[in-house]
């Protein structure tokens, strides 16, 4: 069952530098009980896309296209319906949990708050009981309900954020760099927790990260974004192991597999910097940093096309069946 669907979504910011396209035509689907990973670097539009789902973007952002949650277009919803959908239909876990929690309120109250807001019939005692259960589910002792955010470690705070996102039993969870600031071991704990939720409760999960290796181990499908577009899409492990777009290949190489002799003392990377969205190059927006670009890349912008089975790529070279890594 398709839970969330993006149909030709565009987001444009209007600011002092004119109109800046942040997302330029994205089509993606998330199934219930499945994990979609969105990979890309800062400024590629992945966070803008996540915020667009719950219409959390600033007023200067103009969104077009359709974002369907259970078949209902979020962009056409009235504010009353949208409030109901936030938390109960879909919820977001942001990065930087310290700033998303209220520093002067106890954890218990903050976890119970969304439940009380969305269900007027719920008593405070029942909400507290439920909050306790949620905290245990994310692996925190119930005594932590009495703590303030500063008394918790970064990993514990991130778990509290996940518990809050789960409070209203949403069907869809969006995790925006939810594990980026965490240490390897804590990240592993949180990832284990998130994957458990997906299989056991059948929620749909969108995981956004710059770390393709993390996505490959957790996600079913991965989409790689560059300059506001999806440039490659396919089964997560295949995208990581054998990229069909030079950008995904470089992104994957930035996180080497330990024990892989090909990566030993050969840090992978790309020359140059991500493009300024206000001044995108002509043709394929990745061409200035691309090692395998052909003449055509400077003139036309490649579409995201199926190349074989479930694999899609927006690269002329890959579409011709040629390798995307030089040498």
């Amino acid at each position: 069952m398709t839970l969330l669907e993006f149909r030709d979504v565009h987001v444009t910011y209007t600011g002092s530098r004119g109109r800046i396209p942040a997302v330029r035509g994205v089509d993606l689907k998330v199934e219930a009980g499945k994990v979609l990973g969105i990979a890309g670097e800062s400024g590629c539009g992945k966070s803008t896309l996540a915020m667009a789902v719950l219409r959390l973007l600033p007023k200067s952002a103009e969104v077009s296209g359709e974002i369907l949650l259970d078949g209902e277009d979020l962009l056409q919803m009235g504010w009353g319906r949208l409030r109901a959908v936030r938390w109960t239909g879909a919820s977001i876990v942001f990065q930087g949990a310290m700033h998303s929690l209220n520093a002067v309120q106890r954890i218990g109250r903050q976890v119970a708050e969304p439940m009380l807001v969305h269900d007027k019939t719920l008593s405070a005692a029942k909400a507290a009981k439920k909050a306790e259960g949620l905290l245990e589910r994310v692996g925190l002792p119930a005594t932590r309900l009495r703590s303030y955010p500063h008394e918790l470690s970064g990993g514990q705070r991130q778990r509290v954020m996940i518990a809050m996102a789960l409070a209203c039993d949403p069907d869809l969870i969006i995790a925006d760099e939810a594990t980026t600031a965490l240490d390897v071991m804590v990240q592993a704990q949180v990832l284990q927790l998130i994957s458990g939720l997906v299989t056991e409760r059948g929620v749909g999960l969108v995981m956004i990260s710059h770390d393709l290796s993390v996505l490959s181990s957790v996600c079913d499908t991965a989409a790689v974004m560059y300059a506001g577009r999806v440039v490659e899409q396919g089964p997560a492990h295949e995208v990581f192991a054998q990229a069909r777009h030079p950008y995904s290949a470089a992104l994957g190489a930035a996180f080497p597999v330990i024990g892989d002799p090909a990566a030993r003392l050969k840090p992978g990377g790309l020359a140059g910097d991500p493009p300024d969205p206000a001044r995108l190059p002509e043709g394929c927006s990745f061409r200035p940093r691309c090692a395998v670009a052909v003449e055509r890349c400077g003139k036309e912008s490649p579409e995201l096309l199926q190349i074989e089975g479930p694999r899609l790529s927006a690269c002329f070279v890959a579409q011709e069946g040629e390798p995307v890594v030089s040498g």
């Binding site: 670097e41 071991m185 592993a188 470089a250 930035a254 996180f255 840090p267 990377g269 790309l270 910097d273």
Partner: protein, 322 residues
């Protein structure tokens, strides 16, 4: 051997409110020689940044000593200044490490001016920028940090360190705040500096993949102490210490087959457990496979043996002896 940066039984303690003491660095032995890259890896809070700051003389050791080329690091301003020509720092966040009101030229020339090196300043600055991969250097002289990309800023910080022609660089998470595709370029630069100029580097990181990409040796730190140390290939593909095994096991496509997700978190540096400090979280203790040495684990702090690949674990020591 003459330009080696060494730490011997280094200890750094901080007083905390309430009379407690945090033992951030708790008896560390470490060598960094020119021409080698040593990775210092561990979770946040394990004391790796304090260790780096102490190696640079930015933090005072409360025990043990730091030495460069066999000479212990003095505390006088003059001795520290001389030491700093040889050992330089590269910080994590290049945006914060550059004064927004200084041009690239001023930022790079700062070291020369501090040390009173006045001959051919523009030439030295240009050379350092070129070595850090900013070419042509003259084009960057008058740029302000906010006009550069993250990768370029980090190159400026590296150039600012290189201009003093140090033998050792201490880099604290040099790529953690950079975009993934830009990281490789900065790491390649460190590798090239090692190969071409014989520079030594201590790279502090929480990312074992980074160590695999550039380091020759790696030291794994847990709660203020090094628990395993050796050549990267050996430590990362055949980890011995239970903590290292757990760290490696949770990585994608890990050489350790079964993922070992440790419960709990790093304890506070003011509450270091007695005996082996890893015991309360140790998977070998939990599974009962360390029963034979459990008495030792509870009673004595394991020593990091000498040798190329050293491990501070009673169980490993017992297995090796058997």
């Amino acid at each position: 051997m003459d330009k080696v940066l060494t730490a011997r039984d280094l200890r750094v303690e901080f007083g905390l409110p309430g009379g407690r003491t945090a033992r951030a660095v708790d008896g560390v032995d470490l060598d960094v020689a020119p021409g080698e890259i040593v990775a210092l890896a561990g979770e946040s809070g394990c004391g790796k940044t304090t260790l780096a700051r102490t190696l640079l003389g930015l933090e005072r050791a409360t025990g043990g000593e730091v030495a460069f080329g066999g000479t212990p690091l003095g505390r006088s301003t003059k001795a520290l200044k001389a030491f700093r020509r040889h050992v330089q720092l590269v910080l994590q966040d290049p945006s914060g490490a550059l004064n927004p009101r200084h041009t690239v030229y001023d930022a790079v020339a700062e070291g020369l001016r501090i040390h009173g090196i006045t001959d051919d300043e523009p030439g030295r600055v240009a050379d350092a920028l070129a070595r850090a991969g900013l070419r042509p250097p003259e084009r960057f002289f008058l740029a302000y940090p906010h006009e550069l990309s993250g990768g370029q800023r980090q190159r400026v910080v590296i150039a600012g360190a290189l201009v003093l022609e140090p033998s050792i660089l201490v880099a604290d998470e040099p790529v953690a705040s950079l975009d993934a595709s830009v990281r490789g370029e900065i790491l390649s630069l460190l590798l090239r500096l090692k190969e071409d100029a014989g520079l030594g580097a201590l790279v502090i990181t929480h990312d074992l993949g980074l160590a695999w990409s550039i380091a020759d040796r790696i030291a794994i730190m847990y709660l203020g102490r090094i628990v395993e140390q050796g050549p990267v290939e050996q430590v990362l593909t055949d980890p011995q210490h239970p903590y290292t095994r757990a760290l490696v096991s949770v990585l994608p496509d890990s050489p350790v087959a079964e993922p070992i997700v440790l419960a709990g978190e790093l304890p506070d540096a003011s509450k270091i457990p007695g005996g082996c400090r890893f015991r309360p979280r140790c998977q070998e203790v939990a599974s009962g496979s360390a029963l034979a040495v459990l008495g030792q684990c509870e009673g004595e702090d394991p020593v990091l043996g000498s040798g190329a690949h050293a491990v501070a674990c009673h169980l490993v020591h017992a297995r090796m002896a058997a």
